[in-house]
Each structure stands twice: as C-alpha cells, then as structure tokens.
Assembly symmetry: C2
Homo-oligomer: 408 residues x 2
C-alpha cells in the first residue's frame, strides 16, 4: 500500500534513536534520555480531588465537546497568571491546544507552504524539526552561542535565503533553557532578534515550555512581551509545570495570527479535552500555579546541581569536552572532542547501563555528531552521580580508542 503514501509521509521516519531508547526502560539502566518531567512534581492528590468533583458535579460540561478556542475559564486563569508576570493577554488572544506539539502542527498548517523557510537553532528541539519536516518546510539552522542564537549569523543566513528567492516565514526559538542545549537567550539578543524579525518581516515562534522552571538567576522577559508589533506567537505548555499526561497547552498570539490558528485547529481535532482543560483551570483557581512552581523548582535545581557536580567529578580532562550549566529546565548539553560520534557510542553506553540522546538529530545541518543531551529530571541525585560515572567511563574509553586508532 506504500504507493498510496503522500510525498510528505515519505519524510516522516520512525526515529532509530527513539527505538533504541525504548531499550533503556529496563530498571537497571540509568537513563538521561527522555525529556520527561519528574513525576514527583505532579500534584496528583490535588488533581485526584479535582477530577472526582468535576466528573461528579460538572459532567455535562467536562465530558462534552467544547469550543475550538478552548475553555473560557482556563483562558481567564492563564490570563491572570500571565498578567501577574506583566504580560497582558486577553482570552481572545489565547488558543488552547492539545499540548505544544499541536501548537507546532498548527503553525506549520497556518504559515508554511512546502519550501517556505524557517530559521532555527543549531541545535534545536527534535519535535519541532519533525513537525517542520512533515510539512516540507525548509529548515535553515543558525549556530547558538552561550547567550543564545548568533544574531549576526541569523541575519547573514536571511540575506542569503533572500538572495536565493526563498520565501521566509519565521524564526523558531526556545529562549529559556533551550531543548536540547539548556542555553538561555540574553535580553540583548531577544531585542536584536525582534529587530531582525521586523527588518525582514518575519514571524517569531517562541516556544516556552521551560521558562517557568527557572531555578537560578533572574527571569528575562519573553520575546512575546517585548514585541509591540504582534509578530510573535508564544507557546506555553502545562506539560512541564503541571503534567505531561494532560496534553494541554496555550498558544498566545494577537489579531490575524490568532484568527488563522483557530481556523486551522478546527479541522485538526475540533477541540481539546474539556476534562483536562478544567483540571488545569480548577488547579490554578484552588491551589495556584505559582505556589506549585515555587515547590517544584528546588527539585529540579537539586538534580541539575548533582549532574554538574558529577560531570566535574567524573569526566576526563580533555580538550573539547565541556557542557552547559543551565539556570532552569531539564537538560545539560555535552560537547565531546571533535571526531567522537555519540550515536556510535550509544550502544556501548547502553551496555554500560547508562543512556543519553545523541545530539545530531537536533541539528538540521547534519552536524552535532560529537554532542549529547542529558536530562536530569527522572533520576535521583545518587542515580545521577552513578550514571555520570558510568558515562564518563564510556567517554574515556572512546576517546582513548580513538587516540590509538589515530596512531595506528
């Protein structure tokens, strides 16, 4: 039946890495692979109470179809929450989505014809790459620096694409504790990014799943909040701050941009679950999301600190071997010496009972072979130390083997 596949479906491949990582679900493997939130952060007893009450007392609401735009109650709560952060957004500037991955799907549908260009980080979020790829979008990567996307490089790549007559639509960025690198974009670069977007009339897709999981340093304003032209679409999700299993997020955009997103969501899934929407809305009303965030940030901070300490303790002192030290989120990014291929190394790591995500799939230019993503969220500090010890052993062996190979 393969002759019936669409041309776009040919591009949608099962990830071999993902298949390999399925092996790492064995209990004796310490996995830094999955980008999952720490389950001990889920306020499950509170959600149990809310769910029971909602289903008992409001079933003809929560078990019925809702509007495409989403629950007004939820949007009002999100509006109040954002207002407290200095971001003014009406309920009409919000679209509830079936998590932020759907937000990316809707962005592709609303703005991208095949061949249109999106600019993104090198590296960037694999799920975004997959969404853009499915819609046959041309992805142009821009290197990241310690303080976010290299804006000069962005501009020069825009100029080249323009010269080549490409239709450029926007820039995809995760400014806070980026997935996969953990890098945060500085305030100055956010300003510059907005200037470039204005100069070349581009949209900005600001994916913000981790911004509220800051456990060190001072918050930096979102690009959306600094944009007075309404060319930024911000994706906020409940996946990391409340629960990933609800599949619940809110897209924020103004004017025409919001209107077209609503129009393309309707044929996509009609509406997001009323039950999951009302679970989040009642949680915000009865318990408060900020209070919850204040309780869970130290959990992530402790894990991150354990990982950085373990890397410092166990990793060999080698030229080119270094890592990020994020102020929030779930991920540490590691560069190994040039020539080491983390995809090739993964089976050896798994044999040593430790797992990670090789970085190359997060690079749209085919680079990144010597990088890897480590997630600290699912392990205890002790497991993190032991896992990094195992990984450092594999890394050391791989580096040594390469030196011997180079000599012979």
């Amino acid at each position: 039946m393969k002759h019936h596949f669409s041309s776009r479906a040919a591009s949608a491949k099962r990830s071999t890495i993902r298949e390999l990582l399925k092996l790492t679900e064995q209990p004796d493997i310490i996995s830094f692979g999955g980008g999952l939130p720490a389950p001990e952060t889920f306020p499950h007893m509170e959600l149990a109470k809310i769910a029971e009450k909602l289903l008992r007392e409001e079933s003809s609401n929560v078990l019925q179809y809702g509007t495409t735009e989403g629950s007004r109650t939820l949007r009002a709560e999100v509006g109040k929450w954002l207002a407290a952060q200095g971001i003014s957004v009406s309920i009409h500037e919000q679209l509830v989505t079936t998590a932020s991955q759907q937000g990316l799907d809707l962005i592709c549908k609303a703005f991208f014809d095949p061949g249109d260009v999106v600019f993104c980080g090198l590296p960037t979020y694999l799920g975004a790459v997959q969404a853009f790829t499915l819609f046959q979008v041309t992805k142009i990567g821009v290197p990241l620096e310690d303080d976010g996307m290299d804006i000069d490089e962005l501009e020069s790549r825009i100029v080249v694409a323009q010269r080549e007559g490409k239709k450029m639509k926007g820039i995809y960025t995760i400014p806070d504790f980026q997935n996969p690198s953990g890098i945060t974009m500085s305030l100055e670069k956010r300003r510059q990014l907005l200037e470039v977007a204005r100069a070349y009339d581009l949209l900005i897709f600001e994916d913000n799943p981790y911004g509220h999981l800051r456990f060190a340093g001072e918050p930096i304003p979102s690009i959306f909040s600094m944009d007075d032209e309404g060319r930024t679409i911000m994706l906020l999700t409940f996946s990391k701050v409340l629960s990933a299993g609800l599949r619940l997020a809110v897209m924020v955009a103004r004017g025409d941009l919001m209107d077209v997103l609503v129009r393309v969501k309707q044929p996509t899934d009609l509406c997001t679950s009323k039950l999951t929407q009302m679970l989040a809305a009642r949680y915000m009303q009865e318990y408060g999301l900020e209070k919850h965030l204040a309780a869970i940030r130290p959990i992530y901070r402790e894990k991150k600190e354990a990982m950085i300490a373990a890397l410092e303790r166990h990793m060999p002192d080698e030229e080119g071997l270094h890592w990020t030290n994020p102020d929030g989120g779930l991920f540490v990014w590691v560069w190994l010496p040039e020539g080491i291929d983390t995809e090739e190394m993964l089976p050896r790591a798994i044999a040593s009972k430790v797992a990670y995500v090789p970085g190359a799939s997060s690079y749209v230019d085919g680079d990144g072979q010597n990088t890897m993503r480590l997630s600290f969220s699912l392990c205890t500090p002790d497991q993190i130390d032991e896992g990094i010890r195992r990984l450092a052993h594999v890394v050391t062996e791989t580096i040594e083997a390469r030196k011997i190979g180079a000599r012979s």
Copy 2:
C-alpha cells in the same frame, strides 16, 4: 500579517453557520443543531471513581507522556471488545488518536498530496470536508440512496477522474447512520464498495462513530471486517459511546497503513493523553462498554421515535417534503421542496426559537440547499415535539411565501 498565511490556510474559513448556531445556546431556543451526544448517557459517577483512583495510585503513569501508539492496556481492551464482535485486531493494528477528527487529519497527512482525490457522500460529514479542504484534497461527491452510496455513480465518477488523469487515493464513508443523513449502507453495497476499491486500487476510510449506537434492526458487518486485502482504515471513537470530552478514539488498520499513520501522528501531538486513555480502559475493564451501550441505546431510540412522530404530526403534506428514519445514531435528515433554501430560512427559525443545521455545507458539489440536519440527542421527547411544531410552522410559512412569490 495575512501575507504570511499558507495557501492552505486561506481555505480554512470560520463557518458562518457555526457562528449563527452559537446564538442558539440561549435556553429558550430548542436546538436540533449540534451533533453532540446526550449528556445523560455519560457514566460520570463511574468515571469520577476511576479518575480519583487513577490519579491517586497511578499518577506517574497517567500524568506522564505515553507512546505515540497509545496505551497498551486500552488497545488490549478495544481488541477484546472488537473480538467479541467478530473483528480480529491486534494491538499493533490500533492507533489511539485524539478523537476521530485527528484520525481524519492523520489520513490527510499520510495519503494526500494537494489535488489528490477522495470520493465521499452527497451529503457527508462537514468535519471531514474541512479536514480534506485544509489539505487541498479534491473532493468528488457521490449521491446517497436510501441504502447508502450509489455505487454505479461512484464507479462512473472514478472512471471520469481516471480519464482526467487525477490521482485517486480513496473513498470516505460513514456506513452506519451517517452524519448528517442517518442513512445506513446495506451489506450488498458494502461488498460492492470493496469490489470497486479493489478494482481501482483505492483505500477505504470507514468512519464509524455511530455504529454501536444501533437501536433498531440488525447490525451489518463493518467494511473493515469484510476486507481481506487490508485497504480499509476504520475510525472508532469514544465520543458518542462514552464521552466526547475525553477526545479519544482508536484507528484500526493493517500493515503499512498503520505504520505510516503512527509516523505522522508523532510530529502531530506526540501522544494522546494517558489520563483519558486510562479512564476509558479502566471503564471497559471494570464496567464493560457493551453493558453501557445496552443502557444508552434506549435513550436515543426514545428521542428518535419522538422526532419521527413529531415530524409526522406537525409537518405539512407537501410534495418533496420527506425525511429519513434512522436505525441508530443522532440524526434525522429532512428534504424540503425544491427551491426552499434552509440557510435563508434559518434566521426565521431562530426567531421562532428553534434551530437546525442547513444541509448545503455537507455537500461538496454546492447542492443540498433544500436539506437540513436535525439532531435529536440533546432534547427531551417533549422538547422535540414542541421544537418540531415550531419548525413545521416556519417550513409551512416558507413554502406558502414561495408559492405566493411564484404567482406574483
């Protein structure tokens, strides 16, 4: 910002009918408009108990990401349920979707390039029309007869499309109690449809949201169960048999067809909510879906009988005025005399405190102006009688006004 819209987004319009029907949410209007399940059929007390227990005891499962394929527990339960109906489907032949509207989105993604052809009923489900339109699919309508799609007409339209060099992909059909018409396809026509699909190498997209809501007559085997070549994809949903608010459905397909659907779901929304999946799975395990269906079918039967009786009681005896009398589902379809436009008539109906869905938007060939869809699911038998009385009055007036107009 409209110049940034994709060419497909230009086709995604807000439905003016849908906006008009929003007005009908006032309590004094009797609405036969929405295609919503009857809320009194939701087993909310049982779901409240299950939800409370799941969130209390299995939160690190139900509040976490799941696999793209869906919960194995749910797929195992659906497999057992289908086996009891004589349909053998392994868990690997099932994909859990965020309701069947997402199933249609995935079908478009997997199989349709712009301009590819799908055949569908005249009329057919509006949400399917919208999904196909968003993906720039060419929709060719085939008239329905009392026993389903006119297979001779289907074949002659296939021949024409073939002659015109069009790339034909498949046939979209709702064989049981079709939305919007309530028409059921006969066993003989199901066989013929499969023969035609085989002869011209087409896929069959069998949308089956109402098949289990049969309240009269004998069940007819699904096309999927009669297909020994694996060219049929069946969409089953929990929306009408358990709850629409869960946004939960299962697509059933074999071999390569299932594989490509999984691959395009991943970038679409990663996975469907684990919480809603486990709610349905535990409900099936602890209470049984068949038992629930046996309890809710009489509710729909009573409402349908009330509507048919009211139509017979109140509607004028006019040439060309007739309706379907379905054996299941939620809908009765009404044909008014030629020349009456139900879209034009709707504001007068709303002024008389009754609402329906004009039929034209369900016709992909621009026809159907004199048709309307009546849903009996949200009203009591008394409300149905009163609503049809009001509607009959508007219809009578409209017919009389037209006669006077024709004479003058």
